[in-house]
Amino acid sequence: MTSFLDNIAVIGQNTQLALAGCTLFGGVAGAVGTFVLARRRALLADVAGHASLPGVCVAFLIGESLGIGGRTPWLLLAGAAISALLAAWCVPLLARLRGIGPDGAVAITLSFFFGLGTVLLSSVQSHASGSQGGLRSLLFGSAAATNRGDIIALATLAFAALMVLIALFKEFSALAFDEQHAQSLGLPVRTLDLVLMVLLVATVVSGMQVAGIVLVVALLVTPAAAARAFRGSIARVTAIGAFIGALSAAIGVILSLRFEELPTGSAMTLAATAIFFVTLLLPGRMMRGALT
């Protein structure tokens, strides 16, 4: 353990910034995840992750052609957000077609956007800066491949998402617990649902470079699922989800820096899942006949 910490101290300021940024992202993902789970949007988070790939690639190509550089952090985040939102919009549309259903719509959308993204990725990698600058590690995430600008961009986006979550915490709670009652109170449930969707996409996109577009869903779902083992108020359970998310992200970054071949997203996912398994041992977790 000491050697890990020594390692970080030696690596220096940029790594500490990456660790701080990733931890913030993990915390926000764990908190947003509470509502993503409650609104049954876990698979949509997976769609958003995979569907950000074509957006990132197009943004990269635009940046290159404009001469501002393909690796411009804000451009990549914007591209990712646009294609993830587009995919999230496609899912309910497809689900309405006869004989497809929500799961079919998720599968069609996710595979199409991801397939398109991998095709575009091969074009991106023909650019020198695309292959060297970390886009290659986009699938499973890499904290080491990020630069200062990436981390500042991801942390800013995650922080903005956190502020929105705090501002609308009670409205999201009412929506997630009892939509009809929320509607009867006159709360704008459709708008709130839309804002929650944007929040989900913002969180996914902020974490895509470090957690990887394939695995970023794990940070939104697994810590929040682990937090369900704890009881108490909405605020308490959400805070526990945030803590587990932050812890998983931090462990993931530290491990991936220690073992260079280990992708950051994979390490984060395994850390979150390990914590999830530990919470299964907590008393009361197996309520409601989970194993019967």
């Binding site: 915490f169 009670k170 009412a174 009809q180 369900r228 009881r231 108020s233 359970v237 409601r288």
Partner: protein, 249 residues
Amino acid sequence: MSAAPLELRGFSAGYSASEMPVADATFSLARGTMTALVGPNGAGKSTLLKGILRLTPVHDASSVRFFGEPLDRVRSRVAYLPQRSEIDWTFPACALDVVAMGLYRRLGLFRRVGRAARDEALAALALVGLEDTASKSIGELSGGQRQRVLVARALVQRADIVLLDEPFANVDEVTEQAIASVLQKLRGEGTTILAVHHDLGTVRSIFEDAILFNIRVLAHGPSRATLADTSVARAYGIVLEQEHAGRTS
């Protein structure tokens, strides 16, 4: 004279495949009355309540008036209690969180639940006999306790009319008595109450008025007279005939 707390004129709703239809309902409720909405399964009672509150599409929104006004102008005076079974009780919240939700409209967007709101929610929990369960997770509560939490959430809204969907369904005796006495107390304070109710045995003892409903209003008046045998048979008979036809076809 002030306008009726709730007035329906030729109200129709229920257009999706999953909903029972409501056709041409006309009735009005006076201030400080307690009315049971009685009818067989599939009579459209829940659709009626949801339609009145615009939670489901209605044919003509102007056919519903609360205190002589459209719903949007008097929302803070109207409280709704959905069926307990339609709510996600695995949601990570404590009883106090749920009761405080009744205050969200009054608190306004972006505002947090402060001490005054918490105290108000605690007082409502005490009224339904659950002061000790404020910090308990809703997942740990019994069915009856959950129902009382929902009633407490409706109480904190301090509404002038409360619409309840099956508040007495599958609850224990303690809960039934607690809810009945809270509703009667509200009525005494001038609140108007309309509740979907299934148990014909307790309608007369809890509710002074009843609406007999099966897709349309069949009878409306004092519960004892309204639930006279012939009219009940008429409401429930339709279902029996349909079931019989379904079995033989």
